[in-house]
């Protein structure tokens, strides 16, 4: 039994009311008594439980509104994991529901699910990716918030906004695009003079803090306008229409500039564009083909000019859409479609990273990027009919070769990286950051010498002897080449940075048939 004096000491210490002499006594007693330590934990359990319950909507109206909810730093999600979180928001609510069915779960107002170059002002920033009710200032970049009700808000910086709850956000300045599913009907964005209530679907809103003018374009559906703080509907605006409001008066809106209102799908492309300088600053990157169509559409530009790798030449392959709407790719569809590169020089290590989306695996071997020959030091990088990647540097005698992971699926953007290291006597191919192909060799060749290479179709000598083509059916929208062996961690980071979308998963299905022998 814990006596009153010990209970007093524990409580006074926990609440900052203890004297130094009492604290010394308490420490000594805690050291001596397991029972007292257990009591301390029991009190902590009660207080933690109370804090959690107080975070949830309950039947008790607080006597006063909190000044600003203190963000509980719930989870330091990676942005990728945030997608899974939002998918689980409904589940989390069911788990707890404010009842005593288990340890309470703090409710989520909104989460950051994607961003490109986002910088928030100090003290006006989210807790990692969690937005609780409060004030925020996005200084630059673009963010996508997903509210617990399912609404998405894409905010382009600079912007200032206050989140009141999952249905009410005030835009003080900046531009937003709201995408509102049926679960979030009534989602409102307030400005100084007008409240914009989405009746489902999508609109863009800009707010000029200097003049107080707001402009709203409805991309789809209907938006109701209310005077700020009033319920009465002033006007309903429908798909394709726009309205401008200044000092409570409406006027015709200026012409829509869609670039001002990026959609969630644009954020990945913005992020990828922002990576350009980071990519080019890596001293071991010897070539980077971002697959941007030039005026001369037959040139495949190498954006890394410092290492003497020339631009490539496109033959047959067609320009198409890449991972994002604004991103270009090359489509390899016919046996005669290819692009040719030259990678001059000799290397001890080489890594080749490719983003690709395969339509079909038509041949025993489907080419990604191969040296034009089959000589010692040449590089081969291709996929089997099962989508299993294989390749590496030609020449050295293998001690083992095996597939250890899931194949490249068709119809999905996939990041495939071939890492060759002569000093380590190893070739590895990663698919979305997972090891899939491993080769150990007995003794190295003197150097890796890719030389002239073809992307998408191999100029194989075998054709002369009647073997099948090795054409690729699908798109490639990025190739990067380093003169060192990337680590798995680095490969995974690149995969994550280039992920096509929020909902894209790194995971690929396993092979449905027994794994073939190489």
């Amino acid at each position: 039994m814990i006596d009153d004096d010990n209970l007093r000491l524990l409580d006074e210490w926990r609440h900052g009311r203890i004297s130094e002499s009492d604290f010394a006594i308490l420490q000594q007693r805690l050291n001596e008594s397991a029972e007292l330590r257990a009591e301390l934990r029991a009190l902590a359990d009660v207080e933690e439980g109370l804090s959690s319950l107080a975070l949830q909507p309950i039947a008790i109206e607080p006597l006063q509104q909190p000044k600003r909810l203190v963000a509980r730093q719930w989870l330091p999600w990676t942005l990728a994991a945030a997608a899974a979180v939002m998918a689980l928001v409904g589940w989390l609510r069911n788990v707890d529901g404010g009842k005593s069915s288990g340890a309470p779960v703090a409710s989520v107002t909104a989460l950051l699910v994607d961003e490109a170059g986002a910088e928030f002002a100090q003290k006006r920033q989210p807790g990692e990716v969690r937005f609780d009710p409060g004030s925020y200032e996005l200084r630059s970049g673009t963010v996508q918030l997903r509210y617990a009700n399912g609404a998405d808000l894409v905010i382009q910086g600079p912007a200032r906004f206050d989140i009141r709850d999952e249905f009410h956000t005030q835009l003080l300045s900046g531009r937003v695009r709201a995408i509102v599913p049926p679960t979030a009907h009534g989602f409102t964005v307030e400005t100084r003079d007008v409240t914009y209530e989405d009746m489902g679907t999508e609109f863009g809103l800009s707010m000029d803090a200097t003049t107080g003018e707001s402009t709203m374009h409805v991309f789809d559906g209907q938006v109701n306008l209310h005077r700020a703080g009033a319920k009465e509907i002033l006007q309903s605006v429908h798909e394709g229409d726009a309205v401008r409001c200044l000092d409570g008066k409406f006027a015709a809106a200026p012409e829509l500039d869609l670039d001002q209102f990026p959609s969630p799908g644009d954020i990945g492309f913005l992020r990828w564009n922002a990576l350009r300088s980071e990519m080019l600053a890596e001293p071991h990157l010897i070539a980077w083909f971002p697959f941007v169509r030039e005026n001369n559409a037959s040139i495949l530009t190498n954006a890394q000019r410092a290492h003497g790798v020339p631009d490539g030449r496109i033959a047959g392959a067609q320009w198409a859409t890449g991972r994002w709407a604004g991103k270009q790719a090359l489509l390899f569809d016919r046996d005669t479609d290819f692009a040719e590169l030259e990678i001059p020089g000799e290397y001890q290590e080489l890594s080749i990273g490719v983003w690709l989306k395969v339509d079909r695996f038509d041949w025993e071997m489907n080419a990604i990027l191969n040296s034009n020959g089959s000589d010692s030091g040449d590089v081969h990088f291709q996929m089997t009919r099962h989508g299993l990647p294989r390749g590496g540097v030609l020449g050295p005698e293998k001690t083992s070769a095996s597939w250890v992971g899931n194949p490249i699926p068709a119809a999905k953007w996939v990041h495939v990286v071939s890492v060759m290291s002569l000093p380590k006597l190893q070739n590895v191919i990663y698919v979305n950051g997972e090891r899939v192909w491993e080769v150990d060799v007995k003794s190295p060749v003197p150097a890796i010498t890719p030389g002239f290479c073809r992307i998408g179709n191999w100029l194989q000598e075998g054709l002369k002897y009647g073997s099948s083509p090795r054409a690729m059916r699908g798109k490639i929208d990025e190739i990067a080449i380093w003169d060192r062996a990337l680590t798995q961690t680095e490969v995974r980071a690149l995969t994550e940075k280039g992920r096509p979308s929020l909902l894209w998963s790194r995971d690929n299905p396993p092979l449905r048939t027994p794994m073939p022998k190489p």
């Binding site: 209970l7 007093r8 409580d11 210490w13 926990r14 609440h15 900052g16 420490q27 805690l30 050291n31 397991a34 029972e35 330590r37 257990a38 009591e39 301390l40 934990r41 029991a42 009190l43 902590a44 359990d45 009660v46 207080e47 933690e48 439980g49 109370l50 804090s51 959690s52 319950l53 107080a54 975070l55 309950i58 008790i60 607080p62 006597l63 909190p66 000044k67 600003r68 909810l69 203190v70 509980r72 730093q73 719930w74 989870l75 330091p76 990676t78 990728a80 994991a81 899974a84 689980l88 989390l92 788990v95 009842k99 005593s100 288990g102 340890a103 309470p104 779960v105 703090a106 995971d507």
Partner: protein
């Protein structure tokens, strides 16, 4: 477990055990902001190391062990508070707590029930004081009470609640040799 399922499993486990993990920290760290910060580090470390978890039943205990290291790391990094517990004592309290996670979850699960047994005004008071952003000073002023008087009242309420959850937990869960409560 680094897959979508791994994400989901991690989220599920952390959501289920977050209360107990935070309570472990709270037992030895007094400032709520510090608890938040440490919990953040625990979540991050646990997420990074989740691949090594083979026994999901032991997740809470595993996370409490991570919490112990994160608490010590946090306390070493910041200026020492003269009312901070000795490191060895702090570690002992957290380590013992890691062995009681089931009991602690059970206690916390019964809290709402016990809270509902309180008279309405007391329940209101507790929720006021523990609501984020509310200070005891504000609540005391609003209630027309002295801070000292309010503190004494809250102390009694906390003890009542603690006793209640222990009773409820023992009724529901039966004797638990793991409880660490020699009462």
């Amino acid at each position: 477990m680094e897959t979508t399922n791994g994400h989901e499993k991690f989220i599920e486990l952390l959501a289920r055990h977050e209360g107990v993990i935070r309570a472990s920290i709270r037992a030895v760290v007094r400032r709520p902001e510090d608890v938040d910060e440490i919990m953040q580090s625990v979540s991050l470390t646990a997420w990074r190391r989740f691949d090594s978890v083979t026994d999901v039943e032991g997740f809470a205990k595993w996370a409490c062990v991570i919490a112990r290291y994160e608490i010590l790391k946090f306390q070493r990094a910041k200026a020492r508070d003269r009312f901070e517990l000795d490191e060895a004592l702090m570690a002992k309290i957290v380590d013992e707590g890691a062995e009681e996670t089931k009991t602690r979850s059970s206690r916390m699960a019964h809290l709402q029930e016990c809270l509902n047994k309180l008279p309405e005004l007391r329940r209101l008071l507790v929720m006021q004081v523990y609501a984020p952003g509310c200070s005891m000073k504000d609540v005391a002023e609003r209630m027309g009470k002295s801070q000292d008087g309010l503190y004494q009242l809250l102390r009694r309420i906390r003890l009542e609640l603690k006793t209640c959850v222990e009773v409820q937990a023992s009724r529901t869960d039966g004797p638990d040799g793991n409880r660490g409560l020699a009462r």
